[in-house]
């Protein structure tokens, strides 16, 4: 029975892939009078469906590990169905249905974690529902303008209508994407969600906000330039959006550095990465969109890889704080490589595809002549090195700081298989930066009626501003590495392994197991002394939102006093209201 269930679950997790292969027709389903759901597959949605198809089975596999949580499996299936509906939506109602199914099923999945607390779950669902309801409002405005629910470019829209549409849709998608200052639900929920589900949250669900933002651009062909014209070489409204994205990534990056918990760090890093994507979308040129899609691809692969690795660590050690881990490189080598490849991709280091994505975005910023944005983005992406390093140093290197970390074993194979596959994919895309362009991104750009990037060969990424060759780069680096290592080993003299991890230069002192040798938490503490960073880290939106919630509760208490338990008061109020209405009518001259 449970065997069948597992098989079924795995089959469903493969459904996005199957859909991608087999989809060739449009479906439609009547809902109520005048509302008909129609399903179709656009190239843009196809791209995000590819991401989903890649990720879903990889996360489903470790979820199946015994003892598995059957409600989680059911909810995950619902979530997948919702997301596929969202991506296949040819009209806004199915889009919204998919969006909402995704929202509530992910919320219920979030509750499956024993760590989720009230503030987290409430902020998750309220922000997401706020996003959904803004979306619904936008859809209704759209409906009142065009007269039906089909997703298509709105041509005859007056400026105020277009503005309200852009604001409503934009806010909805920005909440989902988690840009500042609407991000507050992300770190908490990514942190406290079930470990594997965090991977899905960050890898797939956040991409839906990105999908929405790009979709928004297609709704109004001149959405970015239409309102305020152009700034330098790009759209003026996009300039604002790009700054929102970049500030998001800067702030989130610094917040990430100061975290002391692996999953929270990854959560903030997720916000930062989506910030880059938002920036690229703001630029809006074909180069920039290619960059945005590329970033989305890389971020999906990388974040799923990292979250699964981290889930493996948490599974084996029960620890998630940097200070409680360490030295896992010897105990969990494959997970180490997972995280290593992950952070190389995350940091956008060549030769992994993260670099190709960043390259496209940088070039598009130069092309748009938005150099200040470029500088700000560089700030975020170099500051990201610090948290990337922290992520690999604190759990895997250094000294083991807890008994669990000293005795941990490698994660079970359902955790390792997805990691190995994702590492392979990252290396593949890194070697062939043109592959993703040619196969995944150019069709989308053509579908959006933009100039494709094109690639002369899969090994090459080429733009008007130049490009690079991934295979040559990898070959040169690999040869150099082999050469250097070989030469080094040819030299005379003995290599000796230190007899103890405590054989350290420590100013003549002898460190012991009690000496605090792990620098995991210290990383980022120094940063606070930099005035700008210190200022950023002192800010927060939590106070505002908690205050809002407090005001709401105060209002509830105040209004609640109306509902007293005395019949005489009820009658009194009824009679008084009756009398007052009569009096008012009388004064208005009605009587």
């Amino acid at each position: 029975m449970s065997w069948m269930l597992r098989l079924l679950f795995l089959a469903v997790s493969l459904s996005p892939a199957a859909l991608l292969m087999a989809w060739d027709a449009d479906l439609s389903w009547p809902l109520i009078e005048g509302v008909r759901l129609s399903l179709t597959l656009t190239p843009l949605a196809g791209f995000f469906l590819v991401l989903l198809a890649l990720v879903a089975p990889l996360i489903a596999l470790p979820m199946l590990r015994r003892p598995s949580d059957v409600p989680s499996l059911v909810l995950f299936v619902l979530l997948l169905i919702g997301m596929q509906l969202l991506l296949l939506a040819g009209d806004f109602v199915s889009f919204f249905i998919g969006w909402e199914v995704m929202t509530w099923s992910s919320y219920l999945l979030l509750l499956r974690s024993p760590r989720t607390d009230m503030v987290t779950s409430q902020s998750y669902i309220l922000f997401n529902l706020a996003s959904a309801f803004l979306l619904l409002a936008g859809i209704l405005v759209f409906y009142s303008v065009t007269g039906d629910f089909l997703i298509r470019a709105a041509t005859e829209v007056s400026r105020p209508q277009a503005l309200s549409l852009v604001v409503l849709f934009g806010l909805a998608f920005l909440i989902k994407a988690g840009t500042l200052p609407l991000h507050i639900w992300i770190p908490r929920s990514y942190d406290q969600a079930p470990d594997l589900f965090s991977a899905f949250l960050s890898g797939s669900i956040s991409k839906m906000g990105v999908y929405g933002l790009i979709l928004l651009l297609t709704l109004f062909p001149d959405a970015l330039t239409g309102f305020a014209g152009r700034f330098l070489n790009g759209p003026a409204v996009g300039y604002l959006l790009a700054w929102v994205g970049v500030i998001t990534s800067i702030v989130a990056t610094f917040k990430a550095i100061s975290q002391e918990d692996m999953k929270r760090l990854l959560a903030y890093s997720s916000i930062a990465q989506v910030g880059y994507i938002t920036t690229a979308i703001g630029v809006g040129s074909s180069l920039a969109l290619a960059g945005a899609l590329y970033l989305a691809l890389v971020h999906t692969l990388v974040k799923v890889l990292l979250f699964i690795s981290v889930a493996g660590i948490v599974l084996q050690t029960g620890q998630r704080r940097f200070n409680d881990l360490g030295r896992l490189i010897e105990r969990m080598p494959i997970s180490f490589f997972g995280v290593l490849i992950g952070i190389i991709g995350l940091a956008g280091m060549p030769p992994l595809p993260g670099f190709a994505a960043k390259y496209l975005v940088f070039v598009s910023l130069v092309d748009a002549r938005w150099l200040l944005l470029l500088a700000a983005m560089i700030l975020a992406s170099t500051a990201a090195f610090i948290y990337c390093y922290k992520l690999v140093y604190a759990p895997f290197l250094g000294h083991a700081n807890s008994p669990e970390a000293r005795e941990a074993r490698e994660a079970p194979w359902p955790y390792l298989v997805p990691q190995v596959i994702l590492m392979g994919l990252l290396v593949l895309f890194g070697l062939f930066p043109g592959l993703a362009i040619d196969v995944l991104i150019d069709p989308v750009l053509v579908g959006l009626q933009m100039a494709p990037i094109g690639s002369e060969s899969w090994a090459k990424l080429s733009t008007a501003y130049g490009g690079y060759d991934g295979v040559v780069l990898m070959l040169v680096f690999g040869t150099a590495f082999a050469l250097v290592t070989g030469l080094f080993l040819l030299l005379r003299g003995r290599m000796r392994r230190a007899g103890s991890p405590h054989d350290l230069s420590f100013a003549g002192e002898v460190p012991t197991a009690e000496t605090p040798l792990h620098y995991g938490a210290g990383m980022g503490r120094e940063l606070r002394r930099i005035p700008l960073v210190g200022w950023i880290l002192r800010q927060g939106t939590q106070g505002f939102y908690l205050g809002l919630a407090g005001q709401m509760r105060a209002a509830a208490a105040l209004l609640g006093t109306l509902y007293v338990g005395r019949p005489q008061t009820w009658i009194l109020i009824a009679v008084v209201v009756f009398a007052l209405s009569l009096a008012v009518q009388a004064m208005m001259g009605g009587l």
Binding site: I32, V35, L111, P114, V141, S144, P567, A574, L582
Partner: protein, 491 residues
């Protein structure tokens, strides 16, 4: 002898059975009969459906209108009648199958339930103002009694309070009936409708206000609904579910029936009703944020939904009205489901307080899952039925280009999410290991499962029924057709 299948059975059958029941002594036969009556009524409703869809059914009793009494079953009232029978069936089945409190599985309880059904059916069907009052009292009195059935202080207090406020409402309504009769000399609704325009303006306002206060109290509109939480909390949840799911809907329907029938231009009061609806909705949703008792929370949530329906019906456009009617049905299903869940939880854990239910999801997974389903539906999240009706309402507003109700409805839904999800979170609190005190039979879940199944079905395939609601809305809104049907073409 063949019994003609006419609308009169909707009132007569439950009344007959209820009053005849003391003659039966042997309970074994009686109970299935009492429980089964709503099923028979539901069957009857569906048998009559094809006829109703072609033309409204008029059942004249003794003399033809305008002098005599008549029952009118049109597409709109059919929805309500079917709903009443269905809700009664579910509640009866639950009480019967749950094998719970003995005072509820008693003959008296079923008698009162049947009376309640009879009263509701009567109110919906009748074409006569005074009859309306009579049925209103029948339904009211049986409701008071149902509240007070449990022999303890809180139930008696609830019953007494309900009696007081209900009587006040009835008095207000009776005054308006008297005034109408004085002014027009008619009691038949159609006839009054024809003559209503000739009543002097101030008197119209007075009558309107009296009716509004009377029915407003009963239909739980804002400044008159302060009694609701107390009563819902004091009554047994299954009964409270009937109030919320059934009784209020009936009064609301009556209110709007009167508005659309009596007034040549309902838009005049529509805006005020919309305002009342919006206020009811927002205030109730906000107050619900702090409720710590499941029944009170559901009561406020119910008020919120009533506000939403008022807002939709008050707009008086076909799409919103159809959506509003659809939402009535959905809300009935959902609230029945939620209150029955509350009954299960209350029975299992003795308390309905938030703090005492923490972790209930692990001890009663099915009940908690059904609660989640109900909560999602009541917030109007797809793919459940609440979404379809809400979408219909919102679409109606959007078509008309009126966006303030849209904003308010969405805001209210967000606030609603604030407390429903709080409850869901607490139900699934992992830190508490809760043990059920009393067992609950598996059969008790059957009625809830039926409601849940319908919620899902109507959510996924609302096109199965949407024509009914469109026709219902047309029937409700088309004053001329009703007048013609009752009074003949010449009037």
């Amino acid at each position: 002898m063949t019994l003609p299948l006419t609308p009169v059975w909707f009132v007569a059958l439950p009344l007959l059975l209820a009053f005849a029941s003391p003659l039966w002594v042997r309970l074994r036969l009686l109970m299935p009969l009492l429980v089964g009556t709503p099923a028979a009524l539901l069957l009857l409703a569906f048998v009559l459906l094809p006829e109703v869809r072609t033309a409204p059914l008029l059942e004249t009793i003794v003399i033809a209108p305008p002098l005599g009494i008549h029952l009118q079953l049109d597409s709109a009232s059919w929805i309500l009648v079917a709903l009443i029978s269905f809700a009664g069936l579910l509640t009866n089945a639950f009480i019967w199958l749950a094998d719970g409190e003995p005072y509820l599985r008693d003959r008296r309880a079923f008698v009162f339930l049947l009376l309640l059904i009879a009263g509701c059916n009567g109110m919906v069907l009748t074409g006569d103002l005074f009859n309306l009052y009579v049925f209103l009292e029948i339904a009211g009195v049986s409701a008071y009694a149902l509240s007070a059935l449990r022999r303890d202080a809180s139930a008696l207090e609830a019953g007494l309070k309900y009696l007081i406020i209900g009587s006040v409402a009835a008095v207000f309504f009776l005054f308006s009936v008297v005034l109408v009769y004085l002014q027009t000399g008619q009691l038949n609704l159609a006839a009054i409708a024809v003559g209503f325009g000739e009543i002097p303006g101030p008197m119209q306002i007075l009558i309107g206000l009296l009716m509004l206060v009377g029915l407003g109290i009963k239909a739980e509109l804002f400044p008159f609904n302060f009694w609701v939480p107390d009563i819902y909390q004091g009554s047994h949840p299954a009964v409270a579910g009937l109030y919320s799911g059934l009784l209020v809907k009936v009064f609301l329907f009556v209110l709007f029936h009167l508005v659309f029938l009596l007034l040549a231009d309902p838009k005049v009061v529509g805006i005020w009703l919309m305002g009342l609806g919006a206020a009811t909705m927002l205030i109730a949703e906000v107050v619900a944020l702090r409720q710590e008792d499941l029944r009170r929370m559901l009561a406020y949530s119910s008020l919120g939904q009533i506000g939403l329906i008022t807002l939709a019906l008050g707009f008086g456009v076909e799409a919103t009205t159809a959506g509003g009617l659809f939402h009535m049905v959905n809300h009935t299903l959902v609230k029945l489901l939620l209150f029955l869940t509350a009954a299960v939880l209350l029975r299992s854990f003795v308390s309905a307080q938030l703090a005492d239910l923490a972790g209930a999801g692990r001890a009663r997974p099915l009940a908690a899952a059904l609660f989640v389903l109900g909560a999602l539906a009541v917030m109007g999240l797809p793919p459940l039925s609440g979404f379809a009706s809400k979408l219909w309402i919102l679409k109606g507003f959007a078509e008309a280009g009126v966006f303030w109700p849209v904003a308010l409805i969405l805001l209210a839904a967000l606030i609603e999410a604030g407390y429903y999800f709080r409850w869901i979170k607490v139900l699934y609190d992992p830190s508490v290991q809760l043990q059920a005190v009393h067992p609950v039979g598996r059969l008790a879940y059957a009625p809830m499962a039926v409601a849940a199944g319908l919620i899902i079905l109507l959510g996924v395939a609302p096109f199965l029924v949407d024509a009914l609601f469109s026709e219902g809305a047309q029937a409700l809104l088309d004053r001329g057709a009703t007048l013609t049907a009752v009074l003949g073409a010449g009037s």
